[in-house]
């Protein structure tokens, strides 16, 4: 079978998995010696398949590489508490390890600490490299992202940048602060210098998590057509020292 998309961007569906997640759709870029995969996977950790698995495995059509070094993906969960009219948002998440075991199997480390939550969502926004490839690391160029708004209320760290390649882009964003009156509003900002052919949900990890203190908070953000949006944040989002950030290798759709 030919690779799902040899040295090109496309989409493909999983052929199965061992943790009861249903069909998973991937956006991918596959080079000879590395692949970039984007997917969002939801499952119920109480299901029998998940409970029986030691490592989460996703079965896929032939990839361009037959194994990879470890990459990082994100495990998130929802956790809300309602107090009279106020909902306390304790959504949380962390990084878990992932690797390609063979041409047809993507593995994800099983972290059982949050199995009491009703639903997990895993974000694969990862580059899976091969090692000992007969050449060194190829350097990219750092591009600062100019975050702009008509009325400025969001402030970002200087480490908000991207590194742009023809078929994919690396994105790192780090939140600094928000004007007080906008802290509970939906957020939107233009991402100057960032490619407009990227469309992805991205986990925004950070913030103090009172009910799940072993991890940061988790809030969902979205990047599309060069615009960053984030509808709501978890309750401890702007706690000092818990700097929310986004870390993602994102496949470009092509213009």
């Amino acid at each position: 079978m030919a690779p799902a998309s040899s040295t090109n961007t496309a989409m493909f569906n999983s052929t199965g998995n061992n943790f009861g997640a249903g069909t998973i759709q991937f956006k991918d870029y596959q080079a000879e010696n590395y692949v970039v995969l984007n997917a969002k996977i939801t499952y119920d950790p109480s299901n029998a398949d998940y409970q029986a698995a030691d490592v989460l495995e996703i079965y896929v059509p032939d990839l361009s590489i037959n194994r990879s070094a470890v990459a990082g993906v994100f495990l998130t969960f929802q956790d809300r508490y309602v107090y009279s009219s106020y909902t306390w948002n304790n959504d949380g998440g962390t990084a878990v390890k992932s690797w390609i075991k063979d041409k047809n199997t993507i593995c994800i480390e099983k972290l059982t600490n949050f199995d009491d939550k009703a639903e997990h969502t895993i974000f694969i926004l990862a580059l899976y490299p091969s090692l000992n490839q007969g050449g060194g690391t190829i350097k990219g160029t750092r591009t600062a992202i100019q975050m702009t708004q008509e009325t400025r209320y969001l402030y970002w760290s200087s480490d908000t940048f991207c590194v742009i390649f023809e078929h994919w882009v690396f994105l790192h964003m780090q939140f600094s602060s928000c004007s007080y009156s906008y802290r509970n509003q939906p957020w939107e900002a233009n991402m100057g210098n960032f490619p407009t052919d990227v469309c992805a949900d991205v986990p925004f990890l950070g913030g103090s998590n009172q009910y799940n203190p072993s991890v940061n908070g988790y809030s969902l953000a979205h990047v599309e057509n060069g615009v960053f949006t984030c509808q709501e944040r978890m309750s401890g989002f702007d706690s000092t020292g818990y700097d929310p950030f986004i870390f993602a290798f994102l496949v470009r759709d092509g213009e």
Partner: protein, 352 residues
């Protein structure tokens, strides 16, 4: 004068002084007891103790387990001698397989495996031995198998067969993306670095740690050459930093930084311990970083602590530099998420 048994005629068995006669499978076998020469090494003592422990543990098996080993042995031939295959008993096979398993760090296998599958020969492309480097390159990866490597110390270049002097340098390692870097293991086992002009004999084979079965061995030899000559002949050093390259006063307990991706990322697998009251960790390096490894990277981290935010995801900016002030170093500086000590920084990091 020894009268019985007469080992000149078939049908006898027993020992006379250092000669032992056995009658196995319709053939007579004579063996002369061999005595170890030279001083016992710690490794030899440990191996003999392990052999005794494995042999003794056969007696702890249940009757059903012993029967299973006997049945498997009936279908398994031993090493062929004079064109006639030797027969194995259950205990012979139990000891053979478990010696290999224990050597590879596995526990003693009490239940006989269902079958013994043939293992492949080790396939590799090059062996490089210099006073600084002992490495086997281009090994065809075999899933689930471990590589056993035996090597000799430096012999005279005129010696044509020195494999009997080889000792186990690696009792079972997985190839590292086609490489088996024996440098540290060789120096540790043999005790001295190879010198240019010496000849090193090497034997290697695959071991299946699940069953203890070993594959056919491959023997080769190599005359030690200088690093410059090896490079002139095509040896390309893999750009990778490990703990062997890191100075003791560093703030990392594990450090594996691999530049050999031929892609726009470095692969990290590092445990950052932190230092002072600064949210960063330094890996101070013995040697300068090559020019094409210098720059800035960014990678993911996850806490390994046991307190607040123990599993917190974090982002780290990583500076790779040759500093005139504090020498070559890799600095892992915390950026996003809650800072935790220790933290593992892992996965691909973009390089710019």
């Amino acid at each position: 004068m020894i009268v019985l048994p007469s080992i000149a005629f078939g049908g006898f068995s027993g020992s006379a002084k250092d000669v032992t006669a056995r009658h196995v499978g319709g053939r007579s076998i004579l063996s002369v007891r061999s005595w170890p020469t030279g001083q016992k090494t710690n490794a030899q003592v440990a191996r003999r103790a392990s052999l005794a422990r494995i042999t003794k543990s056969y007696q702890t098996l249940t009757a059903d387990q012993m029967i299973a080993w006997e049945r498997l042995a009936e279908h398994t031939s031993g090493q062929s001698v004079f064109g006639q295959k030797a027969e194995l008993t259950g205990i012979n096979l139990f000891v053979r397989l478990n010696v290999s398993r224990v050597m590879a760090g596995e526990s003693i296998l009490k239940d006989a495996p269902a079958m013994i599958a043939a293992l492949p020969l080790v396939s590799y492309s090059a062996l490089w031995i210099t006073p600084k480097t002992v490495i086997i390159k281009g090994i065809a990866h075999e899933v689930g198998l471990k590589l056993v490597v035996k090597m000799t110390g430096g012999q005279s270049a005129g010696v044509s067969s020195g494999w009997s002097k080889a000792v186990i340098v690696s009792p079972g390692m997985e190839d590292d993306w086609g490489d088996a870097d024996m440098t540290y293991l060789y120096f540790k086992t043999i005790g001295v670095k190879p010198s240019v002009g010496e000849k090193i004999f090497l034997e290697m084979y695959w071991l299946d740690p699940a069953s203890g079965v070993v594959g056919p061995s491959i023997q080769t030899s190599k005359v030690v050459e200088s690093e410059e000559d090896a490079e002139a002949e095509g040896y390309v050093k893999r750009e990778k930093i490990t703990m062997a390259d890191v100075k003791e006063d560093s703030h990392v307990s594990e450090c594996d930084v691999d530049f050999s991706t031929n892609a726009p990322v470095v692969s990290f697998d590092t445990v950052c311990l932190g230092h002072s009251n600064v949210a960063s960790s330094y890996a101070y390096l013995e040697d300068d970083l090559p020019a094409d490894c210098l720059g800035t990277s960014m990678a993911l981290g996850r806490g390994m602590g046991d307190g607040n935010a123990a599993l917190a995801a974090q982002s780290y900016i990583i500076w790779l530099r040759n500093s005139s002030w504090d020498g070559a170093n890799i600095c892992f500086a915390h950026r996003g998420g809650y800072y935790v000590k220790p933290t593992e920084v892992f996965g691909p990091g973009i390089l710019y």
